[in-house]
């Protein structure tokens, strides 16, 4: 086992944080495998990204730069990853476990006829194979998953926001290597991207989340939570009860049938803590429960809790956050 290739997700020419986390993780694994780390990035007009990736330890940066790669397509971006893997012959490939990464990595794995350690929260090299752990069954169990040691290639998608992103002490060479993708076949094409209103932070990427459930009583009360989001720099999340009531779009839903998040802070306001909700936020580092029912299951997973009326507590938190900043 030696070389490690990391797929770098960029959108609009910006490298996603999850990609830097995977690069940092790749660097840590390379210390054990004794190999070098390379990155692959696909898009249009993106050749300027190599410097940033070098700072995070990429000795080589394979760049697939073409107009037809301007918008994401699984077929196009998988072709770029596949071409880089052919050129670099890695034994490990890391792809950040974002919506894009979880779309690209399995398609690539199937192309190579190998398995994939998906959504791992820890990842190590043990006796020549990748071993990771991940929550399963709505977080009610934890599985240790291992790649086939005989596989020519071992692939993993690390869960975003779980691994640290840190620059290397000494930047790597970051030698840009252009990839020419011949015979590109893109059938499923993105024709448009409809961005969320107001450039909100998405819960899937946020480092802090303030989330509301049925306890907020109606959509007219979101401003109370949004004010706290604003002070903390947090994204706004919701329980399924709030989404199904039509109070907010599904893109905010956290849980089994929503998004799985691992922020450093998750503030649950008027959310009881059903197992399907916990499936989405149970791996948050610090959980705060604000609920008037002392028996609410959310208090069982919470780090801090206040038993009380959210309509009094949340505005008071906003005020306290303002004072703290001042």
């Amino acid at each position: 086992m030696s070389n490690i290739l990391v797929f770098v997700e960029q959108r609009d020419g910006k490298v996603r944080k999850a990609a830097l986390e995977s690069l940092t993780l790749g660097r840590a694994l390379a210390v054990k495998t004794g190999g070098t780390v390379a990155a692959v990035v696909a898009g249009s007009g993106i050749s300027g990204l190599a410097g940033e990736l070098a700072a995070y330890g990429a000795a080589k940066v394979f760049v697939a730069d073409a107009p037809e790669l301007a918008l994401y397509s699984c077929e196009g971006y998988t072709a770029a990853l596949d071409a880089a893997a052919s050129a670099f012959s890695p034994s490990i490939v890391l792809v950040p476990g974002t919506m894009m990464g979880k779309d690209v990595a399995p398609r690539f794995a199937a192309r190579r006829g190998v398995g994939l350690l998906s959504d791992v929260m820890t990842l190590e090299v043990e006796n020549g194979r990748l071993v990771g752990t991940r929550p399963v069954y709505s977080g009610k169990a934890r599985a240790t998953v291992a790649a086939d040691p005989a596989a020519s290639l071992q692939i993993a998608t690390p869960r975003p926001n779980v691994f640290q992103a840190a620059k290397a002490d000494v930047p790597a060479a970051g030698e840009a290597v252009p990839l020419a993708l011949s015979g590109l076949k893109i059938r499923a094409k993105v024709t448009k991207i409809e961005a969320a209103e107001g450039g909100e932070i998405d819960v899937a990427e946020a480092d802090k989340i303030v989330s509301g459930g049925r306890g907020i009583k109606g959509p007219e009360n979101w401003p109370i939570l949004k004010a706290l989001c604003h002070e903390l720099g947090a994204a706004l999340g919701a329980s399924r009860a709030a989404v199904d009531a039509g109070w907010i779009d599904h893109s905010h839903q956290v849980g089994q049938t929503g998004k799985v998040v691992s922020p450093s802070l998750y503030v649950a306001c008027g959310i009881s803590g059903a197992i399907q909700h916990m499936a989405g936020m149970g791996s948050s580092k610090v959980i705060v429960a604000i609920n008037k029912d002392p028996e609410a299951p959310m208090f069982k997973v919470a780090t801090y809790g206040i038993v009380g009326d959210l309509f009094q507590i949340v505005p008071a938190m906003t005020e306290a956050a303002k004072r703290m900043k001042a």
């Binding site: 918008l71 699984c74 077929e75 998988t78 974002t98 919506m99 979880k102 779309d103 990595a105 399995p106 398609r107 794995a109 199937a110 192309r111 190998v114 994939l116 998906s118 959504d119 071993v131 929550p135 399963v136 009610k140 169990a141 599985a143 240790t144 790649a147 086939d148 596989a151 059938r187 499923a188 094409k189 993105v190 024709t191 991207i193 409809e194 961005a195 998405d202 899937a204 903390l232 599904h250 893109s251 089994q256 049938t257 799985v260 802070l265 197992i275 580092k285 610090v286 780090t303 801090y304 809790g305 009380g308 009326d309 507590i313 008071a316 938190m317 005020e319 306290a320 956050a321 004072r323």
Partner: protein, 262 residues
């Protein structure tokens, strides 16, 4: 328009999880099983398309005999045929192996849309959809929350971080459903009666030309080497709320100075 919908029969999300004697899988004795919720959205969308445009809906699963209950539920809701790839007696098969089996079963079939849920509830790996699409050489669209059929093509809205991608693909294509796509119906009494009379076609991996031993247990491309209960979280630190302003003040200081997240 003909549709194939792949379903997984999985532990109910409410069910209590006990670790099996092998320490690698769950103890299935008291588990309640359901059709994976995402697959219900997929099935519903296929049935709606059949109702408006005609055609058939075939459900396919890889599972043991008890999964027939799930297939019958799908037949009762409006699917026409059901195929089960028999998993009876097989050790754990990972996504790559399941994709191989499904691909082998589906390859000879003719269809316009192949449907899956975006993940199987429980294992939640989200790997099957792109793997199966690759093996069948199909375009795929993942995490579909809205869709419009076009002539020989489909336009889907796909959920990504902070935005929705509008994706167009020619048919046949593989589409993976996400919550928000529709509200799945319940089976009618008439549907339930009709489903009882239908036969479920059972195929073994060998029937499909797949050597089950080469994709299961110690030969699976990814193995679960251990399953354990999650590490417990420390007990909650409760902050008295008699004075909301003081409680909030204290909480924020704890978040900054003790938890160091602010």
């Amino acid at each position: 328009m003909n549709h194939i919908v792949c379903i997984a029969y999985v532990p109910d999300t409410e069910t209590k999880i006990k670790i099996g004697a092998d320490g690698k899988s769950i103890d299935e004795s008291d588990v309640k099983w359901i059709v994976s919720p995402y697959d219900e959205y997929a099935l519903e969308e296929a049935i709606r398309a059949k109702e408006t445009k005609g055609g058939t809906v075939t459900v396919v699963t890889f599972g043991p005999a008890k999964a027939d209950v799930g297939l019958r539920e799908c037949l009762a809701r409006g699917a026409d045929d059901a195929v089960r790839i028999a998993a009876d007696g097989l050790a754990q098969v990972d996504s790559l192996g399941v994709a191989r089996l499904l691909a082998a079963a589906i390859k000879p079939m003719s269809f316009d849309a192949l449907w899956l849920g975006n993940k199987g509830a429980g294992t939640d790996a989200q790997t099957l959809v792109p793997m199966l699409a690759e093996m069948l050489d199909l375009p795929h669209i993942n995490l579909v929350t809205k869709l419009e059929w076009k002539d020989g093509a489909v336009t889907c809205w796909r959920e990504i971080e902070g935005a929705k991608e509008v994706v167009e693909a020619p048919l046949p294509a593989l589409l993976a459903a996400q919550k928000g796509l529709n509200e799945p119906r319940y089976a009618s009494l008439k549907g339930i009666m009709a489903a009882k009379k239908k036969t479920i076609t059972v195929k073994t991996p060998a029937d499909l030309g797949v050597d089950a031993a080469s994709i299961s247990g110690e030969k699976a491309a990814v193995r679960w080497t251990k399953l354990e209960l999650p590490p417990g979280r420390q007990a909650v630190k409760l902050i008295p709320a008699d004075d909301p302003a003081k409680a909030a003040e204290e909480l924020l200081h704890l978040l900054r100075d003790e938890a160091k997240v602010l």
